[in-house]
Amino acid sequence: MSETLALSRIPLDQYAELLGASEIEELRALAKPLRGRSIEMINSTAVGGGVAEILNRLVPLAEELEINIKWDVMKGGEDFFEVTKSFHNALHGAPYHASPKDFEIFLAYSERNRATLPLDAEFVVIHDPQPTGLIETRPPGANHWVWRCHIDLSHPNRTVWDFLEKFVSRYDCALFSSPEFSRQLPIPQYLFYPAIDPLSEKNCDLDPQFVSQVLGRYQIDPQRTILTQISRFDRLKDPVGVIRAYRIVKRYFDCQLVLAGGSASDDPEGAMVLKEVLREADSDPDIKVLELPAWAPLEVNALQRAATVVIQKSLREGFGLTVSEALWKRKPVVASAVGGIPVQIIHKHTGLLAHSVEGTAYQIRFLLSRPEIATKLGEQGHQHVKENFLITQKLRRYLTLFLTLARGS
């Protein structure tokens, strides 16, 4: 029923070149009391999505520290995933009419998975709402259970949250990506940031020739200013607002706009948003709307590296890791002050925050007219990511959590 994933080894020392040998040595020192102790990570998908992407890197790195860690994926049928998708949207605040049948399906799959998953590690980390109900038969005090919530719970649908809260309250602690997302709970709640991997295809250094090739492929002129937003075609990412901001900037600066995201072909809502974007672009040759196949990580990397200014004009955001990706590449970023973005963009220090189309345009104009400030923000943004949003920092945070739980705090 469930599946334990076997992952390829990632030598931790590869990160020493980027971060310094002392950082890696200190990770080993922190991990020493946890050597040989068991951790089980559980989520509901092995591929696709940010959680699987992070676990794919985090689990092998923890193994490098001699921790006995495994990643299990809970199984569900189509009916289960339909229910949990509705739960997911409802927890984000979307309207939802709960039916008793939905809760029955959720509980039935939780019970089936409990029968097949080991759930006996010293530390069990459950990711997101789908496997939350696995805690139901937890023997009291036997091991430590952690609930990691990757979604924005600031305005959840009451019925769904009330149902899930009964389970969440039985965990030893809950982890959220922003204080705004936390709830009133009887258990400790900690801040845990998502992370990027500096060695992954999306973030590794690129040969400038490859970057030029990518620009050539999409007829983007490297000699002119490039404004870029990388996001799926989703209204919450406000691509139409980005085009409006670009038009204001264009009155003062010659520039091109790149809007790049995953293909919208299998996403009806995405396809509709893409149409709206193309309508707003109105065949402007300086607006490049790019549908990238399966997110093409190397191309995303190249487009971010080629940008003069990176934009993330979301109306709502979980964490917005594309911001960290751009900052890691030392890019000046103008982004909306929503969700986890203000954690990454410390206004006037690691980027500029905006609250409207006009504000976004103004901040872009400011950066284009003050390139020395843009460079400084990009450099400080890089340092901020290095200190706080890399996969190695995430590993360090997990070690600290497990040590804290083990000592009974």
Binding site: Y190, H384, R397
Partner: protein, 219 residues
């Protein structure tokens, strides 16, 4: 070479951020939060934030000042909050008292601003600290230099910044050991004068190593 009886033991630190139950949407609410939040919360938003944002050397001092600036647009209050130097404090109680005084006086002087809604809320968080020995120690100045050179930012922060509260002295671990362990009082004082607000952890370390090298050349 002069050797200390008690070795300097190098340690690293790691923090979890615990989300508190309080938040503030106005300056008046910030004042209430400051009065009632835990000591771990005051530590988190002043001492710990300085370590995690050490690379910002042009005006970032603590989370309260940054929020006053970016979310309430009160530059004058932000300046006063940023001017509170954690080196002047050996207890969280004293630091809290001054934070409350600055915000309280501002709210009293400008009651309209005190109740004005901020762009984003301020969330009070707490630091939960875990330390780990690095298994390295130093008895001589050379060993000490080598140990400092091989510390990560976290380790350096622990000994150089957060140690002030632990020691309950107006100094840091490095200066304390240089003076007490090796009797190098003048070097200890110079090290303690390195400005932690205008330096990054890297540039502070580089200055410290230069001071040690200069001392070594004297011997």
């Amino acid at each position: 070479m002069n050797a200390a009886e008690t070795p300097f033991e190098f340690v690293t630190v790691s923090y979890l951020t615990r989300i508190g139950n309080q938040s503030a949407g106005t300056l008046a609410e910030l004042l209430t939060g400051l009065e009632h939040c835990s000591d771990a919360s005051i530590f988190h938003h002043t001492f710990q934030t300085l370590g995690s944002h050490h690379f910002l050397t042009d005006g970032f001092s603590n989370d309260f000042a940054q929020w006053a600036l970016s979310d309430t647009n009160r530059n004058d209050l932000a300046e006063q909050l940023a001017a509170l130097d954690i080196r002047d404090y050996v207890s969280i109680a004293a630091l809290r008292s001054d934070l409350c005084r600055v915000v309280g006086e501002y709210c009293a002087a400008y009651p309209n601003f005190a109740s004005q809604s901020a762009l984003e809320r301020f969330y009070f968080c707490e630091s939960v600290e875990v330390t780990a020995p690095l298994g390295r120690n130093a008895r001589t100045l050379d060993e000490f230099r080598e140990g400092i050179e091989h510390l990560s930012h976290s380790g350096f922060y622990f000994h150089f910044i957060s140690s002030r509260l632990r020691l309950q002295l107006r100094t840091n671990d490095f200066s304390h050991w240089l003076a007490d362990g090796l009797g190098l009082k003048s070097l200890a004082q110079s090290v303690d004068h390195i400005d932690i607000y205008t330096n990054t952890l890297d540039s502070a370390r580089a200055k410290l190593l230069r001071l040690i090298d200069r001392e070594g050349r004297k011997a």
